[in-house]
């Protein structure tokens, strides 16, 4: 990889980490209280796919909510440069 590719790669890695954290936050934020106990059961498997499936079923329009987070982050990056 040349320097530019390396830099792009590093930035994408960092953006990916932020997005993963945001996805996790959105899930907890939008789960209802009664769903939390169920989530704790799902968590015992320590499998992110199960968590995603669980959240997908419990939170209406989860994908749109995650997209909004991504859009917000993009706006912040644009403003920061």
């Amino acid at each position: 990889m040349n320097t530019q590719q390396l830099n792009e790669h590093k930035i994408m890695a960092q953006i990916s980490r932020v997005i993963l954290l945001r996805i996790k936050t959105v899930i907890i934020q939008h789960l209802k209280k009664e769903d939390i106990a169920e989530l704790e059961q799902v968590m015992k498997e320590k499998n992110i796919n199960l968590v995603l499936n669980f959240a997908h079923k419990k939170i209406p329009q989860l994908s749109q909510k995650i997209y909004s987070e991504i859009e917000l982050l993009a706006q912040k990056i644009t403003q920061s440069i």
Partner: protein
């Protein structure tokens, strides 16, 4: 923490460092927000710790970062293609996602990154739900999320971030182009379809277009969505140069070895051959008109292309390509036999020839794909169909209509399709599904204008338009079927099926360090 302060920190020259600092802060904020919501939700500490650490393994981040896409649509890159699970996700979700995109294109509703992401996310999660052992789902989703974010940034952001290197590159390219006439010559060759592209394009799909084909633009777009380049072959000029600058001018010589080799057939992963009888994309006659002024590409030429590409690949020691041949398989190869008395041979159809001799050729029968749609529409009111077309071609089209209807109904009887089609008889009167398909799109539009109000009173009425570009020229409110879109989708689905089966693979390329 005030993140905005960071934009004032450091020198403006080092935008890259500034961005990295900004992202460091965002990461810390995101971490802090997550811990905050976990605490507010009163999730036990040990569970919260597991949740925080889920999917944070370095390899997950590494996988996600590979999605350095210039745009979501253009970017499912080879890292994803090369992973088995990623391949399955892409080939499964792409079909669904692409279908959604096409629906939107038909509806003239632009597809935004939001819609793409939501569709991709939902499809991927839906797919992942089938079993739990799919560790690559999260890096794919996170990576696609990062790619979507990339598309949301104005180009100037990246221009600023990589300013110094970009400027150096632009300057170097610019100076070289100005100083060296040969460079200018190469560019001119590219524009004119004479450039030697061998080894320069990368994994690509070859599309033989001819003079024009209504599916070409959408096909190029769909393959670009998968991050694949497309090399097109045209008779004389390439009106889609701005979409896909890799092209070869054939001058009707489709099997020319030099043309195919220079078209980078070495790195090709599939070839698509679009046969059409002049303007007739469907309902072409059993016997093709082989006069070149009326014919974009004949079945004879298509067979020649298949053989020529196969021969070149064999010489190079490479596996044969899978070819996707878009044609009417009921068309017959025109043969005259010079002997006394009747010849004991029957003319073979192109479908039969492909079946017998070419296992690596996959037929895409656009007539049947279109008539599947027509059958569905006709079945809604249980109407027989009639074809409105140019007066001088009515008889010729009727025969083609009869053959394709028969072929469709045979498939219904075999349980492969639903809804039989009936061709209207005098007893049906005006209670029919009138299908307008003229010799070309202009004729179709004029015929729609002339007949819509009369023919739609008792039955139903639909126009068949070849070129997606011409849809907007139809009178408002007229229902239509677009053959170009059906054709492109048919080819793309066949390609996706082979890809999902592992029959089409990207060549292994050593990444330069």
């Amino acid at each position: 923490m005030n993140e905005n302060n960071l934009s004032e920190v450091g020198t403006p020259v080092d935008r890259l460092t500034q961005l990295q600092h900004f992202l460091d802060v965002q990461e810390n904020l995101a971490q802090s927000d997550l811990l905050g919501v976990l605490s507010s939700a009163k999730i036990p500490h040990d569970i919260a710790r597991v949740y925080t650490e889920l999917a944070t393994e370095p390899e997950v981040a590494e996988e996600a970062a590979k999605f350095s896409l210039a745009a979501l649509g253009r970017g499912v890159k080879r890292e994803l293609w090369d992973s088995i699970i990623g391949r399955t996700i892409v080939s499964t979700t792409t079909i669904v996602t692409t279908a959604e995109i096409i629906k939107k294109i038909i509806a003239k509703d632009p597809v935004g990154p939001s819609e793409l992401f939501v569709t991709f996310f939902n499809n991927a999660i839906g797919w992942a739900g089938k079993t739990i052992e799919k560790p690559e789902v999260i890096p794919v989703l996170v990576g696609v999320g990062a790619a979507v974010l990339w598309t949301l940034l104005p180009p100037m952001v990246w221009g600023k971030v990589f300013d110094r290197e970009s400027r150096k590159t632009i300057k170097a390219v610019g100076e070289e182009a100005r100083k060296r006439e040969t460079r200018a010559g190469e560019l001119q060759e590219l524009v004119e379809g004479r450039a030697d592209l061998a080894g320069k394009v990368g994994p690509n799909v070859q599309i033989d277009v001819g003079k024009s084909d209504p599916a070409a633009a959408l096909l190029i777009e769909l393959f670009h969505h998968l991050g694949l380049e497309v090399v097109t072959y045209w008779d004389e000029n390439n009106p889609l140069f701005s979409m896909s600058p890799y092209w070869k001018e054939t001058r009707d010589d489709w099997t020319n070895r030099k043309t195919l080799t220079e078209g980078d057939v070495r790195e090709a992963i599939g070839s698509i051959i679009l046969v059409s009888n002049g303007d007739d994309v469907i309902l072409s006659p059993e016997q093709q008109d082989t006069k070149l002024h009326a014919q974009d590409m004949t079945d004879n030429e298509a067979l020649g292309i298949v053989n020529a590409r196969d021969a070149i690949r064999r010489e190079m020691g490479l596996p044969l390509l899978h070819h996707f041949l878009v044609t009417n398989p009921r068309g017959k190869i025109n043969i005259g036999i010079a002997r006394i008395g009747e010849a004991p041979y029957d003319a073979k159809t192109i479908g039969k020839i492909i079946e017998e001799n070419h296992p690596n050729v996959h037929l895409v029968d656009v007539d049947l794909l279109a008539f599947k749609e027509i059958a569905l529409i006709a079945s809604q009111k249980n109407l027989p169909i009639e074809l409105l077309t140019n007066k001088d071609r009515g008889e010729e089209y009727y025969e083609a209509l009869r053959l394709v209807t028969q072929a469709h109904n045979d498939r219904v009887e075999a349980g492969l399709e639903e809804h039989k089609i009936k061709i209207a008889t005098p007893e049906d009167g005006k209670c029919t599904l009138s299908i307008v398909y003229g010799s070309n799109d202009e004729d179709t539009i004029a015929q729609v204008e002339a007949t819509a109000s009369d023919f739609s009173q008792e039955g139903d009425f639909i126009a068949i338009i070849n070129d997606p570009e011409k849809i907007t020229r139809l009178p408002v409110g007229i229902r239509y079927i677009c053959i170009g879109n059906i054709e492109a989708m048919g080819v793309f689905n066949e390609f996706s099926k082979l890809f999902a089966q592992g029959l089409i693979r990207l060549p292994q390329v050593q990444e330069s360090s």
